[in-house]
Symmetry: C2
Protein backbone atom coordinates (compact mmCIF):
# COMPACT_ATOMS: atom_id res chain seq x y z
CA UNK A 1 0.00 0.00 0.00
CA UNK A 2 1.31 3.45 -0.83
CA UNK A 3 2.19 5.05 2.48
CA UNK A 4 0.76 8.42 1.54
CA UNK A 5 -2.83 7.22 1.16
CA UNK A 6 -3.28 6.59 4.87
CA UNK A 7 -1.81 8.50 7.83
CA UNK A 8 1.61 7.20 8.94
CA UNK A 9 0.34 6.16 12.39
CA UNK A 10 -2.41 4.05 10.87
CA UNK A 11 -0.07 2.47 8.30
CA UNK A 12 2.34 1.58 11.11
CA UNK A 13 -0.40 -0.07 13.17
CA UNK A 14 -1.60 -2.00 10.11
CA UNK A 15 1.94 -3.27 9.54
CA UNK A 16 2.37 -4.39 13.15
CA UNK A 17 -1.04 -6.08 13.22
CA UNK A 18 -0.10 -7.83 9.98
CA UNK A 19 2.59 -9.71 11.94
CA UNK A 20 -0.07 -11.69 13.80
CA UNK A 21 -0.52 -15.26 12.54
CA UNK A 22 -3.03 -15.55 9.70
CA UNK A 23 -3.64 -11.79 9.52
CA UNK A 24 -3.29 -10.40 6.00
CA UNK A 25 -3.29 -6.78 4.89
CA UNK A 26 -7.09 -6.50 4.64
CA UNK A 27 -7.71 -7.98 8.09
CA UNK A 28 -5.00 -5.77 9.61
CA UNK A 29 -6.66 -2.73 7.99
CA UNK A 30 -10.03 -3.76 9.39
CA UNK A 31 -8.58 -4.20 12.92
CA UNK A 32 -6.72 -0.87 12.79
CA UNK A 33 -9.69 1.08 11.47
CA UNK A 34 -11.94 -0.51 14.08
CA UNK A 35 -9.54 0.53 16.86
CA UNK A 36 -9.40 4.04 15.42
CA UNK A 37 -13.18 4.37 15.59
CA UNK A 38 -13.30 3.05 19.16
CA UNK A 39 -12.42 5.20 22.15
CA UNK A 40 -8.73 5.74 22.89
CA UNK A 41 -9.09 3.50 25.96
CA UNK A 42 -9.66 0.39 23.80
CA UNK A 43 -6.30 0.70 22.07
CA UNK A 44 -4.46 1.88 25.18
CA UNK A 45 -5.76 -1.08 27.21
CA UNK A 46 -4.55 -3.40 24.47
CA UNK A 47 -1.19 -1.57 24.47
CA UNK A 48 -0.92 -2.01 28.26
CA UNK A 49 -1.69 -5.72 28.00
CA UNK A 50 1.01 -6.09 25.32
CA UNK A 51 3.57 -4.25 27.44
CA UNK A 52 2.94 -6.51 30.43
CA UNK A 53 3.03 -9.76 28.46
CA UNK A 54 6.66 -10.86 28.53
CA UNK A 55 7.59 -9.46 31.92
CA UNK A 56 4.60 -10.97 33.71
CA UNK A 57 4.56 -14.44 32.19
CA UNK A 58 7.07 -17.21 32.76
CA UNK A 59 7.31 -21.00 32.51
CA UNK A 60 6.68 -23.39 35.40
CA UNK A 61 10.00 -25.19 36.09
CA UNK A 62 8.16 -28.45 36.84
CA UNK A 63 5.30 -28.68 34.35
CA UNK A 64 6.43 -26.02 31.81
CA UNK A 65 2.93 -24.58 31.85
CA UNK A 66 2.70 -20.78 31.59
CA UNK A 67 2.51 -19.08 34.99
CA UNK A 68 2.53 -15.59 36.46
CA UNK A 69 6.06 -14.25 36.88
CA UNK A 70 5.54 -14.06 40.65
CA UNK A 71 4.50 -17.72 40.94
CA UNK A 72 7.11 -20.43 41.57
CA UNK A 73 5.23 -23.44 40.28
CA UNK A 74 2.00 -23.87 38.30
CA UNK A 75 -1.09 -23.78 40.55
CA UNK A 76 -2.38 -26.73 38.51
CA UNK A 77 0.54 -28.71 39.96
CA UNK A 78 0.53 -27.45 43.54
CA UNK A 79 -3.26 -27.85 43.86
CA UNK A 80 -3.59 -30.58 46.51
CA UNK A 81 -6.86 -31.84 45.02
CA UNK A 82 -5.13 -32.84 41.78
CA UNK A 83 -3.67 -36.30 41.32
CA UNK A 84 0.11 -35.99 40.88
CA UNK A 85 0.42 -39.65 39.88
CA UNK A 86 -1.51 -38.97 36.67
CA UNK A 87 0.09 -36.75 34.03
CA UNK A 88 -1.34 -35.49 30.75
CA UNK A 89 1.55 -34.81 28.36
CA UNK A 90 0.74 -31.99 25.93
CA UNK A 91 2.64 -30.17 23.19
CA UNK A 92 1.87 -26.55 24.01
CA UNK A 93 0.68 -24.57 27.05
CA UNK A 94 -2.64 -23.70 25.39
CA UNK A 95 -3.47 -27.41 25.12
CA UNK A 96 -3.89 -27.31 28.91
CA UNK A 97 -6.68 -24.76 28.46
CA UNK A 98 -8.44 -27.08 26.01
CA UNK A 99 -8.23 -30.05 28.41
CA UNK A 100 -9.23 -27.97 31.44
CA UNK A 101 -12.33 -26.80 29.56
CA UNK A 102 -13.60 -30.38 29.56
CA UNK A 103 -13.62 -30.35 33.38
CA UNK A 104 -12.91 -34.09 33.16
CA UNK A 105 -9.23 -34.23 34.03
CA UNK A 106 -8.02 -34.08 37.63
CA UNK A 107 -4.37 -35.03 37.14
CA UNK A 108 -1.44 -32.73 36.41
CA UNK A 109 0.13 -31.58 33.14
CA UNK A 110 3.50 -31.71 31.46
CA UNK A 111 4.18 -29.42 28.51
CA UNK A 112 6.71 -30.83 26.04
CA UNK A 113 7.23 -27.48 24.36
CA UNK A 114 6.42 -28.73 20.87
CA UNK A 115 6.43 -31.96 18.89
CA UNK A 116 9.16 -33.83 17.05
CA UNK A 117 9.31 -32.39 13.53
CA UNK A 118 12.39 -32.96 11.38
CA UNK A 119 11.09 -30.45 8.81
CA UNK A 120 11.00 -27.68 11.42
CA UNK A 121 14.27 -28.87 12.92
CA UNK A 122 12.68 -29.95 16.20
CA UNK A 123 14.29 -33.09 17.64
CA UNK A 124 13.46 -34.88 20.90
CA UNK A 125 16.39 -33.16 22.62
CA UNK A 126 14.52 -29.83 22.34
CA UNK A 127 11.49 -31.15 24.22
CA UNK A 128 11.09 -31.39 28.00
CA UNK A 129 11.35 -35.20 27.99
CA UNK A 130 14.15 -35.77 30.56
CA UNK A 131 12.20 -33.58 33.01
CA UNK A 132 9.15 -35.78 32.41
CA UNK A 133 11.11 -38.94 33.22
CA UNK A 134 12.38 -37.22 36.37
CA UNK A 135 8.81 -36.34 37.40
CA UNK A 136 7.62 -39.90 36.82
CA UNK A 137 10.25 -41.09 39.29
CA UNK A 138 9.86 -38.29 41.86
CA UNK A 139 6.06 -38.26 41.96
CA UNK A 140 5.68 -42.05 41.55
CA UNK A 141 3.52 -41.45 38.51
CA UNK A 142 1.13 -44.31 37.71
CA UNK A 143 -0.40 -43.19 34.42
CA UNK A 144 0.71 -41.04 31.53
CA UNK A 145 -1.93 -39.79 29.07
CA UNK A 146 -0.06 -38.81 25.94
CA UNK A 147 -2.23 -35.94 24.71
CA UNK A 148 -0.14 -34.73 21.79
CA UNK A 149 -1.95 -33.55 18.65
CA UNK A 150 -3.50 -36.03 16.22
CA UNK A 151 -1.02 -34.81 13.57
CA UNK A 152 1.94 -36.66 12.04
CA UNK A 153 4.26 -34.77 14.43
CA UNK A 154 2.02 -35.49 17.43
CA UNK A 155 1.87 -39.20 16.56
CA UNK A 156 5.67 -39.43 16.09
CA UNK A 157 6.20 -37.69 19.40
CA UNK A 158 3.80 -40.07 21.16
CA UNK A 159 5.61 -43.06 19.66
CA UNK A 160 9.01 -41.68 20.61
CA UNK A 161 7.88 -40.93 24.17
CA UNK A 162 6.47 -44.43 24.59
CA UNK A 163 9.78 -46.02 23.57
CA UNK A 164 11.97 -43.55 25.46
CA UNK A 165 10.09 -44.08 28.72
CA UNK A 166 10.18 -47.88 28.35
CA UNK A 167 13.92 -47.69 27.65
CA UNK A 168 14.40 -45.45 30.69
CA UNK A 169 13.22 -48.39 32.74
CA UNK A 170 10.43 -46.56 34.55
CA UNK A 171 7.20 -48.48 34.99
CA UNK A 172 4.14 -46.43 34.13
CA UNK A 173 0.88 -47.08 32.28
CA UNK A 174 0.75 -45.09 29.06
CA UNK A 175 -2.33 -44.19 27.07
CA UNK A 176 -3.15 -42.00 24.10
CA UNK A 177 -6.23 -39.78 23.58
CA UNK A 178 -8.86 -41.57 21.50
CA UNK A 179 -8.97 -40.79 17.81
CA UNK A 180 -12.41 -40.92 16.25
CA UNK A 181 -15.27 -39.00 14.73
CA UNK A 182 -15.68 -35.53 16.29
CA UNK A 183 -19.09 -34.91 17.87
CA UNK A 184 -21.53 -33.40 15.39
CA UNK A 185 -19.70 -34.58 12.29
CA UNK A 186 -21.42 -36.79 9.72
CA UNK A 187 -19.81 -40.15 8.88
CA UNK A 188 -19.67 -39.30 5.19
CA UNK A 189 -17.42 -36.32 5.86
CA UNK A 190 -14.92 -38.19 8.06
CA UNK A 191 -11.63 -39.06 6.34
CA UNK A 192 -10.67 -42.72 6.07
CA UNK A 193 -7.84 -42.60 8.63
CA UNK A 194 -10.10 -41.04 11.26
CA UNK A 195 -12.79 -43.60 10.42
CA UNK A 196 -10.26 -46.46 10.74
CA UNK A 197 -9.30 -45.14 14.17
CA UNK A 198 -12.97 -44.88 15.11
CA UNK A 199 -13.53 -48.50 14.05
CA UNK A 200 -10.56 -49.84 16.01
CA UNK A 201 -11.39 -47.77 19.06
CA UNK A 202 -15.12 -48.62 19.03
CA UNK A 203 -16.75 -48.91 22.44
CA UNK A 204 -19.19 -51.59 23.60
CA UNK A 205 -22.82 -50.61 24.11
Amino acid sequence: MATDILPAALTELIEELGNLPGVGARTAERYAYYLLRQQTSTSSKLADALRGLHSNVTSCPVTFALIDADQDVSPLYTDASRDKTLIAVVEEPLDIVALERTGQFKGTYHVLGGAISPIDGVGPEQLHIPELVERIKTDNVVELIIATNASVEGESTALFLQRFIKDAGVSVTMSRLARGIPVGVDLEYADQITLSHALHGRSAL
Copy 2:
Protein backbone atom coordinates in the same frame (compact mmCIF):
# COMPACT_ATOMS: atom_id res chain seq x y z
CA MET B 1 -12.01 -19.56 30.50
CA ALA B 2 -11.07 -20.05 34.14
CA THR B 3 -8.62 -17.28 34.92
CA ASP B 4 -6.32 -19.52 36.95
CA ILE B 5 -5.39 -21.83 34.05
CA LEU B 6 -3.37 -19.16 32.27
CA PRO B 7 -1.22 -16.37 33.74
CA ALA B 8 -3.17 -13.16 34.43
CA ALA B 9 -1.13 -11.13 31.92
CA LEU B 10 -1.89 -13.60 29.13
CA THR B 11 -5.58 -13.78 30.04
CA GLU B 12 -5.76 -9.99 29.97
CA LEU B 13 -4.14 -9.80 26.53
CA ILE B 14 -6.50 -12.50 25.24
CA GLU B 15 -9.47 -10.50 26.50
CA GLU B 16 -8.28 -7.27 24.88
CA LEU B 17 -7.50 -8.99 21.57
CA GLY B 18 -10.98 -10.54 21.72
CA ASN B 19 -12.41 -7.03 21.30
CA LEU B 20 -11.15 -6.88 17.71
CA PRO B 21 -13.87 -7.43 15.09
CA GLY B 22 -14.39 -11.08 14.21
CA VAL B 23 -11.85 -12.31 16.75
CA GLY B 24 -13.22 -15.03 19.02
CA ALA B 25 -11.64 -16.60 22.10
CA ARG B 26 -9.63 -19.18 20.15
CA THR B 27 -8.19 -16.66 17.70
CA ALA B 28 -7.35 -14.25 20.53
CA GLU B 29 -5.55 -17.10 22.34
CA ARG B 30 -3.58 -17.92 19.20
CA TYR B 31 -2.56 -14.26 18.69
CA ALA B 32 -1.54 -13.86 22.35
CA TYR B 33 0.44 -17.08 22.48
CA TYR B 34 2.16 -16.19 19.22
CA LEU B 35 3.18 -12.79 20.62
CA LEU B 36 4.44 -14.47 23.80
CA ARG B 37 6.72 -16.74 21.78
CA GLN B 38 8.05 -13.84 19.70
CA GLN B 39 10.67 -11.45 21.00
CA THR B 40 9.51 -8.70 23.34
CA SER B 41 10.10 -6.16 20.55
CA THR B 42 7.21 -7.55 18.47
CA SER B 43 4.63 -6.83 21.16
CA SER B 44 6.22 -3.56 22.25
CA LYS B 45 6.25 -2.26 18.66
CA LEU B 46 2.56 -3.13 18.39
CA ALA B 47 1.96 -1.40 21.74
CA ASP B 48 3.75 1.74 20.49
CA ALA B 49 1.70 1.77 17.29
CA LEU B 50 -1.50 1.47 19.34
CA ARG B 51 -0.47 4.32 21.64
CA GLY B 52 0.20 6.63 18.68
CA LEU B 53 -3.01 5.82 16.85
CA HIS B 54 -5.56 8.33 18.13
CA SER B 55 -3.19 11.23 18.76
CA ASN B 56 -1.50 11.03 15.34
CA VAL B 57 -4.54 10.53 13.12
CA THR B 58 -7.25 13.05 12.33
CA SER B 59 -9.89 13.75 9.67
CA CYS B 60 -9.36 16.00 6.67
CA PRO B 61 -11.82 18.94 7.06
CA VAL B 62 -12.45 19.03 3.29
CA THR B 63 -12.54 15.39 2.14
CA PHE B 64 -12.96 13.64 5.55
CA ALA B 65 -10.21 11.20 4.58
CA LEU B 66 -7.88 10.14 7.40
CA ILE B 67 -4.74 12.28 7.61
CA ASP B 68 -1.70 12.74 9.85
CA ALA B 69 -2.47 14.98 12.82
CA ASP B 70 0.12 17.51 11.56
CA GLN B 71 -1.45 17.80 8.10
CA ASP B 72 -4.13 20.41 7.41
CA VAL B 73 -5.77 18.85 4.38
CA SER B 74 -5.52 15.43 2.73
CA PRO B 75 -2.53 15.20 0.34
CA LEU B 76 -4.88 13.42 -2.07
CA TYR B 77 -6.80 16.71 -2.27
CA THR B 78 -3.92 19.20 -2.34
CA ASP B 79 -1.98 17.16 -4.94
CA ALA B 80 -1.98 19.51 -7.97
CA SER B 81 -1.92 16.59 -10.43
CA ARG B 82 -5.34 15.38 -9.24
CA ASP B 83 -8.53 16.60 -10.88
CA LYS B 84 -10.55 18.55 -8.29
CA THR B 85 -13.58 18.69 -10.59
CA LEU B 86 -14.00 14.92 -10.30
CA ILE B 87 -15.02 13.48 -6.93
CA ALA B 88 -15.41 9.84 -5.90
CA VAL B 89 -17.88 9.68 -3.01
CA VAL B 90 -17.13 6.79 -0.65
CA GLU B 91 -18.60 5.54 2.62
CA GLU B 92 -15.46 4.97 4.69
CA PRO B 93 -11.83 6.18 4.62
CA LEU B 94 -10.50 2.69 3.82
CA ASP B 95 -12.54 2.69 0.59
CA ILE B 96 -10.04 5.28 -0.65
CA VAL B 97 -7.24 2.73 -0.22
CA ALA B 98 -9.19 0.23 -2.34
CA LEU B 99 -9.75 2.76 -5.14
CA GLU B 100 -6.16 4.05 -5.00
CA ARG B 101 -4.90 0.48 -5.40
CA THR B 102 -6.47 0.37 -8.87
CA GLY B 103 -4.22 3.28 -9.94
CA GLN B 104 -7.06 4.26 -12.30
CA PHE B 105 -8.56 7.23 -10.49
CA LYS B 106 -7.01 10.68 -10.69
CA GLY B 107 -9.78 12.74 -9.14
CA THR B 108 -10.33 13.56 -5.47
CA TYR B 109 -12.34 11.83 -2.75
CA HIS B 110 -15.17 12.65 -0.40
CA VAL B 111 -15.83 10.39 2.59
CA LEU B 112 -19.46 10.35 3.70
CA GLY B 113 -18.63 8.72 7.03
CA GLY B 114 -21.02 5.81 6.58
CA ALA B 115 -24.19 4.92 4.72
CA ILE B 116 -27.84 5.58 5.42
CA SER B 117 -29.07 2.71 7.59
CA PRO B 118 -32.30 3.10 9.57
CA ILE B 119 -31.55 -0.16 11.45
CA ASP B 120 -28.24 1.22 12.74
CA GLY B 121 -29.83 4.63 13.34
CA VAL B 122 -27.77 6.36 10.66
CA GLY B 123 -29.73 9.05 8.81
CA PRO B 124 -28.51 11.37 6.03
CA GLU B 125 -27.97 14.17 8.59
CA GLN B 126 -25.07 12.17 10.08
CA LEU B 127 -23.22 11.97 6.77
CA HIS B 128 -20.96 14.66 5.28
CA ILE B 129 -23.46 15.54 2.56
CA PRO B 130 -23.78 19.35 3.05
CA GLU B 131 -19.96 19.58 2.85
CA LEU B 132 -20.10 17.66 -0.44
CA VAL B 133 -22.62 20.11 -1.91
CA GLU B 134 -20.37 22.96 -0.76
CA ARG B 135 -17.35 21.35 -2.47
CA ILE B 136 -19.28 20.86 -5.70
CA LYS B 137 -19.97 24.61 -5.75
CA THR B 138 -16.51 25.79 -4.60
CA ASP B 139 -14.46 23.52 -6.84
CA ASN B 140 -16.83 23.70 -9.84
CA VAL B 141 -17.12 19.92 -9.75
CA VAL B 142 -18.11 18.40 -13.11
CA GLU B 143 -18.53 14.72 -12.24
CA LEU B 144 -19.48 12.77 -9.13
CA ILE B 145 -18.74 9.04 -9.02
CA ILE B 146 -20.93 7.60 -6.28
CA ALA B 147 -18.73 4.77 -5.04
CA THR B 148 -20.78 3.62 -2.06
CA ASN B 149 -20.91 -0.12 -1.34
CA ALA B 150 -23.08 -2.45 -3.45
CA SER B 151 -25.15 -3.17 -0.31
CA VAL B 152 -28.73 -2.15 0.45
CA GLU B 153 -27.38 0.75 2.55
CA GLY B 154 -24.91 1.79 -0.14
CA GLU B 155 -27.64 1.76 -2.79
CA SER B 156 -30.05 3.78 -0.62
CA THR B 157 -27.31 6.30 0.09
CA ALA B 158 -26.51 6.61 -3.62
CA LEU B 159 -30.19 7.16 -4.41
CA PHE B 160 -30.56 9.72 -1.63
CA LEU B 161 -27.43 11.59 -2.75
CA GLN B 162 -28.61 11.71 -6.33
CA ARG B 163 -31.94 13.28 -5.31
CA PHE B 164 -30.44 15.58 -2.70
CA ILE B 165 -27.91 17.02 -5.12
CA LYS B 166 -30.52 17.51 -7.85
CA ASP B 167 -32.77 19.28 -5.33
CA ALA B 168 -29.85 21.46 -4.20
CA GLY B 169 -29.89 22.88 -7.72
CA VAL B 170 -26.23 22.16 -8.46
CA SER B 171 -25.48 20.86 -11.93
CA VAL B 172 -23.10 17.92 -11.92
CA THR B 173 -22.87 14.64 -13.81
CA MET B 174 -23.45 11.70 -11.47
CA SER B 175 -22.43 8.10 -12.04
CA ARG B 176 -22.36 4.91 -10.00
CA LEU B 177 -19.68 2.17 -9.97
CA ALA B 178 -20.63 -0.69 -12.31
CA ARG B 179 -22.23 -3.74 -10.73
CA GLY B 180 -21.41 -7.03 -12.43
CA ILE B 181 -19.57 -10.31 -12.21
CA PRO B 182 -16.30 -10.04 -10.25
CA VAL B 183 -13.21 -11.07 -12.22
CA GLY B 184 -12.42 -14.77 -11.81
CA VAL B 185 -15.93 -15.76 -10.76
CA ASP B 186 -17.91 -18.35 -12.71
CA LEU B 187 -21.32 -17.37 -14.06
CA GLU B 188 -23.01 -20.27 -12.30
CA TYR B 189 -21.94 -18.91 -8.90
CA ALA B 190 -23.15 -15.36 -9.51
CA ASP B 191 -26.41 -14.47 -7.73
CA GLN B 192 -29.36 -13.39 -9.85
CA ILE B 193 -29.28 -9.71 -8.82
CA THR B 194 -25.60 -9.39 -9.74
CA LEU B 195 -26.27 -11.20 -13.00
CA SER B 196 -29.18 -8.85 -13.78
CA HIS B 197 -26.88 -5.89 -13.19
CA ALA B 198 -24.23 -7.50 -15.42
CA LEU B 199 -26.82 -7.95 -18.19
CA HIS B 200 -28.09 -4.37 -18.01
CA GLY B 201 -24.58 -2.95 -17.81
CA ARG B 202 -23.17 -5.11 -20.63
CA SER B 203 -20.50 -3.45 -22.76
CA ALA B 204 -20.22 -3.58 -26.57
CA LEU B 205 -17.39 -5.62 -28.09
